[in-house]
């Protein structure tokens, strides 16, 4: 029984996602409230009514006692998590014990991240975001909501099944030779070719990468590109997975089976005219979805995938608009517009291109102005008398010059912005106006809304209307060339993605090694389906271990949140260890520093939705000015019968061994320019693939004999 919803400050539902159980429970309750013979209310409306008291109480609490709810729990262990972002209230509910407060909070943050990646800085204006998230047209709304519902579903699935989404770090396919070849290919044969083509319509490929399921095979960034953050990359992988889900049945088949199975092509055959209009009838049906009497997980899964199918598949040559963080010489912009092209090479293997769109420098300017107005607002709120006016006067003149120039460059396309700016100027700079005082606050807000409006106009509205994109033939050629390149490797890659590395320590059940600086992780795979066998054996035992790992990751985070960097515990027949430490670039271990203790309601620890580790590194770097600081995590599961000192020795060895493959420069890191220059033709050490070889042997047997 799960639900996530976003409500505006007027207690209007801007988005919701609910599973069947929750819908059924709400319908039953609503049935009790409703009179006989009255047409049943749309689910959207009943959810609105039922949650209204909570939403209203939230704003009362903020007004009256300057505090706000963060969570509720009930005697039957239902959990509610509430999170206010600007003027939007996010509520997550779980009533089946599968998610706790932390999970719900994470889900809420992920939803916020997904909305940001889709709407960019429009999210900074609640009135504009409200329009985007809740279109007047019901069909359009259903269509949009189903898109985000599907993304949330994909996220929940990945978080439950995929280790990289569990720890929120990108998992790489470990094959240094192929990786190197691919990077070279992406650079010379793909990105350079496209960027010199005349069919690119003003776009420029900045990043290109190949995914095998959720694992990254190769990543190339052009020289003009800014670093792609781990948070953005993970979110993009999530979107790709949502667009081309890995069918779990197919995954467990041998590669030969996959070849003969054309099902995915059928699933994702693009429809000729995917307009939003044709979702009309299905949208109307949605309100009267029959309530299922049983909740068999398989059937629910089938239902979920049906819902996925209902969303008209996008035109494959049509890119998605994504807003990503960029730090360039022109300045910082947390949500710079990009176009994302997902070209599926084979089921499970995808080529992704991220391009820079024309006019994108406009976003940097808009961000600069938004930031200036926010700072001004903050100062105005602090000001009691006129003390800080003179100080802000200087920066205001600077702002005036820049904004005048900006508006002139926009060439009178936005009347609203011009008017708002004129009003602002008259208040601040004219003799008769009130000057810099609190009365300016509404003007600041208005200016921000208008700036967001400009941004929205250029990067959201225009794109959906125009056919601005790399030409279809250019996309096809790109797809074909990479297909040719990888044709011989295809089957290998699909298998490799299931057995990335193997273990060779006796008594070691599982481990995860995460390089938080690079945002990458390495771990043996855990497959819990009966079809395939992973390191852990299969079936219930693997399932059991998987649950242990999942809950331990959560546990370790809770201790990290409270400032503990080492946790070891004996749980049942297992001994679990977690370590977090810092190194400098040469691998010298730096002295441990207590991470700050976080509040329970602070952003979740991770990299996808809130970059905890980036903040941690920044915090740590303060005391290590001179050097590059790297952060690593190791998590291990051993058999409890092994003496502790051996387990600790194992962990020590593991950390040392895994350090080497983690240095393969596949991913952008914060010193990416350095890596990139080394990427081509860097000699790989033999030792790098050491952990790759050897099948499972002692581990599984000793484990099963328990």
């Amino acid at each position: 029984m799960k639900c996530v919803l976003i409500a505006s400050e007027n207690a209007e539902v801007l988005f919701y996602w609910a599973d069947l159980d929750f819908e059924q429970s709400i319908r039953e309750q609503y049935g009790a409230l409703q009179e006989e013979g009255v047409k049943p209310m749309a689910f959207e409306d009943s959810i609105n009514t039922l949650f209204a008291p909570i939403i209203i109480s939230c704003s009362t609490m903020i007004d009256r006692i300057c505090d706000n709810y963060t969570s509720f729990s009930t005697e039957n262990n239902h959990v509610y998590v509430l999170q206010q972002f600007e003027e939007c209230l996010y509520i997550g509910v779980c009533g089946d014990g599968e998610e706790n407060e932390e999970d719900l909070k994470r889900k809420i943050y992920v939803l916020k991240k997904l909305i940001e990646i889709h709407y960019g800085m429009v999210t900074l204006s609640s009135s504009l975001l409200r329009k985007e998230l809740r279109p007047h047209d019901r069909d359009q709304r259903n269509h949009l909501w189903r898109k985000f519902q599907s993304l949330l579903g994909t996220y929940s699935h990945l978080k439950e099944q995929d280790q990289s989404f569990l720890v929120e770090a990108v998992e790489r396919l470990i094959h240094p030779t192929l990786c190197e070849q691919c990077i070279e290919f992406l650079e010379r044969r793909l990105v350079q070719q496209i960027n010199s083509s005349t069919e690119r319509a003003g776009e420029e490929v900045l990043h290109a990468f190949i995914l095998v399921h959720t694992k990254l095979l190769a990543f190339y960034s052009s020289r003009n590109a800014s670093t792609l953050t781990s948070s953005d990359l993970l979110a993009l992988i999530l979107m790709v997975q949502n667009q081309f889900p890995s069918n779990s049945d197919l995954e467990d088949m041998s590669p030969e089976d996959i070849e003969n199975n054309s099902a995915p092509d059928v699933f994702y055959t693009p429809e000729p005219s995917p307009t939003s209009k044709d979702s009309g009838p299905s949208g109307a049906e949605q309100d009267y979805t029959p309530v299922f009497q049983f909740v068999d997980p398989d059937i629910q899964m089938a239902e979920d995938s049906l819902q996925t199918l209902e969303v008209p598949p996008p035109d494959p040559s049509m890119p998605s608009r994504v807003f990503l963080e960029v730090t360039s010489k022109d300045g910082f912009c947390p949500m710079m517009p990009h176009s994302m092209y997902c070209l599926t090479l084979w089921p499970g293997i995808t080529l992704v291109l991220l391009t820079k769109v024309p006019n994108s420098q406009l976003a940097t300017s808009v961000y600069f102005f938004l930031d200036s107005f926010s700072q001004l607002e903050r100062r105005l709120n602090e000001v009691q008398d006129g003390t800080s006016v003179s100080r802000s006067q200087h920066s205001l003149h600077d702002l005036r010059n820049k904004l005048d120039k900006f508006i002139r460059a926009l060439s009178s396309s936005d009347i609203q912005l011009q008017n708002a700016w004129a009003e602002f100027k008259s208040k601040v700079f004219s003799r008769s106006g009130p000057g810099v005082s609190r009365e300016l606050l509404p003007c600041c807000k208005n200016m921000k809304t208008c700036l967001c409006g400009v941004y929205r106009h250029y990067f959201l509205v225009e794109t959906t209307r125009s056919s601005q994109r790399l030409s279809s033939s250019l996309q096809e050629r790109a797809q074909q060339s990479v297909q040719e390149k990888l044709l011989d490797w295809k089957d290998f890659l699909l298998v490799k993605s299931k057995r990335n590395i193997t273990m060779e320590f006796p008594g070691l059940i599982h481990f995860m090694y995460v390089d938080r600086t690079a945002g990458q992780m390495i771990a043996p795979s855990i497959n819990v389906t009966d079809r395939s066998t992973s390191e852990l054996g299969k079936g219930p035992l693997a399932h059991f271990v998987k649950n242990k790992v999942w809950s331990f990751v959560e546990m370790a985070r809770r201790y990290l949140q409270k400032g503990y960097t080492t946790v070891t515990l004996r749980d049942g027949d297992y001994y679990l260890c977690y370590f977090l430490w810092f190194e400098n670039e040469t691998g010298y271990k730096l002295e441990v520093l207590d991470p700050p203790t976080l509040r329970d309601y602070s952003a979740p620890i991770g990299m996808l939705a809130s970059d905890y580790y980036r903040k941690l590194l920044r915090y740590y770097s303060k005391s290590h000015n001179a050097e590059v600081v790297k952060c690593y995590e190791l998590l291990s599961v051993h058999l409890g019968v092994i003496p502790t000192e051996y387990i600790l020795q194992h962990c020590c060895q593991l950390a040392r061994k895994l350090w080497e493959p983690s240095r393969i420069p596949l991913l952008p890191t914060y010193d990416f320019s350095l890596c990139r220059s080394k990427a081509v033709g860097r000699p790989y050490k033999e030792g790098a693939s050491r952990v790759n070889c050897r099948g499972p042997h002692f581990t599984r047997e000793s484990h099963l004999s328990q």
Binding site: S71, F72, S551, L569, K589, V592
Partner: protein, 624 residues
């Protein structure tokens, strides 16, 4: 005195009881529904905001989830919630406290009120808000008073410290080492009182701390509240204790008692399940899981025919005797007792532990207690113990035998069968008359309560508290018997407790901190000083330990398969381990070698389990 310190705002920023039935209509004022609000000086407007918002949100949530709300968290504050009928109790406290601890704090508070006042609806009908407000305030102060932050986290009883490991000198002066023999003496007094069929269970308290008890920990905690109250009065008035009249709410103050100033009686209200447990000591109660096999296998046959002259082997377990199923002895003793006597069956008693139950010791005690009837009494007790023991082990088949004390009663019960309980309840709780009579066995913790009386006999700082059947006070013979049989021993015990044996110098606490929590008896042993400043979290060196302990305790509560855990940061490493019956936490001070946090077998944090095992042995904590 710790008991008189003002409430700690971290544990209770707000507390209120809100009656939703009074605020149903649009025009109803929120204030009419507020039964009690702490702090009482809070502006009424603010009270109304909190009460109405929390009540509204909790109702909305419980409708959505079809279950009562339990916890409401805000950014700066969190509320433990209880919803029953139209009532809503909310306890607001600091967000960093463990959920389990604050919820149990609230439950205790509600339990205390119910114990002394009966069901809330009824008590608010019978008495004024103002009168009951003084009670709430008293319970709040009591629950927050005393002992360490750790006691709050575990919600444990304050027991007398038998091991004395405290480094704090002030503490040392006030709570000297207690001779274990005195604990046995106390247990014997209780057993003697228990011979009276109208006495359900008893407990002996010394200056607000438990010396010995026959009650389950929850009940002991409840009995303690009035004791603390009077103890603080006593403390303030110096030795003026004789002037103390009946307690504030002494509704049924004893009439025919020989010395009314020292003996008081209060009506109390128990839940049916509490009464049931007291009437038939449940040998197979789930939380006694370590002992039952032993009792049924070993001790029963011999005990049946046992008298003192039998001089049974030292390992005989007669702790399943009358009411002794709940016998609490201070924590560290119990741990050795439980491990040696129960786990490794047949092992010889550990010094200081099992002598409590050894016959040699009984013989010694004879001289110590100046009661002529001692020997005879003890024989009878033992016989009684055996009969009870055998009965209770067969509980369920021979329901009626449990009161075993009077021949005629037993016969009556045999005829009557299980309906007796129901009939008796009818007599005692008219408000529960609609309940089906044979339903009582399944009685959950519901509203119906059974009225009993709490008999208290005070000898200076020492108090004998007995839970008795209501008719006890009309039974002059029973009253006198109990009074006289215990008077002399109580005087003796008090004298011993007041004048601790000299020469028992403190075994100085090492450079480590530990806490050992006994989940069954709800007792805590620790070498942390008890007097932490109000509102603070103890001295700076104990803060890391308390922080880690509360996190680990919450983790243990959540993860049933978790056995041990080590957490470390730059400054400290804490080791926690638990078994079915206990949790132990250990921190070594001053040994943290600065390291990088990378896996390192040389890290001193990983030597903590061995160190804890070694160091805690002398505190009677056995981790092997």
């Amino acid at each position: 005195m710790a008991e008189t310190t003002p409430p700690d705002p971290r544990w209770c920023t707000y507390f209120f009881l809100f009656d939703g039935s009074k605020v149903k209509e649009e025009g109803d004022l929120t204030r009419t529904g507020i039964c009690y609000f702490y702090p009482e000086e809070t502006a009424l407007e603010h009270q109304e905001v909190l009460c109405s918002q929390l009540a509204g949100v909790c109702r909305c949530v419980s409708e959505l989830s079809r279950s009562a709300a339990r916890l409401v968290r805000l950014r700066k504050l969190k509320f433990a919630i209880r919803m029953r009928d139209d009532f809503l109790w909310a306890l607001g406290c600091a967000v960093e406290l463990p959920d389990v601890s604050v919820c149990s704090f609230l439950d205790k508070l509600i339990g205390l009120f119910g114990f002394y006042n009966g069901p809330p609806r009824l008590s608010y009908q019978l008495r004024s808000k103002e009168e009951l407000a003084t009670h709430w305030a008293q319970y709040l102060v009591h629950l927050q008073g005393g002992a360490t932050e750790l006691h709050h986290i575990f919600g444990s009883l304050h027991t007398i410290d038998s091991t004395h490991v405290c480094g704090n000198t002030e503490e040392t002066a006030e709570w000297p080492r207690i001779d274990p023999l005195l604990l046995l003496k106390a247990a014997l007094i209780l057993q003697a009182c228990h011979r009276c069929p109208l006495v359900l269970a008893g407990c002996i308290l010394y200056r607000g701390r438990v010396v010995s008890t026959q009650m389950p920990p929850e009940l002991t905690a409840k009995v303690l509240v009035h004791e603390c109250e009077t103890h603080s009065q006593y403390f303030f008035k110096g030795s003026n204790f004789k002037d103390l009249g009946p307690l504030t709410d002494g509704l049924a103050s004893s009439s025919g008692l020989p010395s009314s100033g020292r003996v008081t009686s209060t009506p109390v209200f128990l839940t049916p399940s509490e009464v049931r447990d007291l009437r038939h000591p449940p040998v197979d109660r789930p939380h006694r899981s370590t002992c039952p096999p032993l009792q049924s296998n070993r001790s029963k046959p011999r005990l049946l025919s046992r008298t003192l002259s039998d001089t049974p082997a030292p390992d005989t377990d007669d702790h399943c005797g009358p009411g002794a199923s709940n016998q609490t002895v201070p924590c560290s003793m119990r741990s050795s007792f439980s491990y040696e006597a129960c786990v490794s069956s047949g092992a010889s008693p550990a010094p200081g532990g099992s002598p409590l139950f050894s016959p040699d010791y009984l013989a010694e005690e004879k001289g110590g207690l100046s009661n002529g009837l001692q020997e005879e009494q003890k024989e009878e007790e033992l016989v009684e113990a055996t009969s009870r023991c055998s009965v209770s082990s067969k509980e369920g088949t021979q329901v009626g035998l449990e009161t075993n004390d009077f021949g005629e009663k037993v016969e009556e019960e045999e005829e009557d069968g299980s309906s007796r309980g129901g009939a008796e309840r009818m007599r005692q709780e008219p408000m529960d008359s609609e309940r089906p009579q044979d339903d009582w066995r399944e009685a959950k913790e519901e509203r119906p309560v059974v009225e009993m009386a709490l008999y208290r006999h005070r000898v200076r700082g020492l108090v004998l508290a007995l839970l008795v059947e209501p008719q006890f006070h009309n039974d002059a013979t029973a009253l006198e018997e109990v009074y006289h049989s215990s008077l002399a021993s109580l005087n003796g015990l008090e004298a011993h407790l007041r004048n601790p044996a000299p020469g028992l110098a403190s075994a100085q606490g090492g450079p480590y901190i530990f806490a050992h929590y006994d989940c069954l008896q709800n007792t805590l042993a620790t070498n942390l000083p008890a007097s932490s400043p109000p509102g603070g979290s103890g001295s700076p060196h104990s803060a890391p330990f308390i922080k880690a302990t509360s996190l680990l305790h919450a983790h243990f509560c959540q993860a049933p398969t978790l056995q041990e855990i080590i957490v470390r940061n730059a400054g400290s490493a804490v080791y926690g381990t638990r078994s079915v019956a206990q949790e132990t936490y250990f921190l070594q001070q001053g040994t943290t070698v600065r390291n990088s946090g990378v896996p390192n077998p040389q890290d001193s944090a990983f030597t903590l389990p061995a160190k804890a095992r070694h160091k805690l042995l002398k505190h009677g904590v056995n981790l092997f």
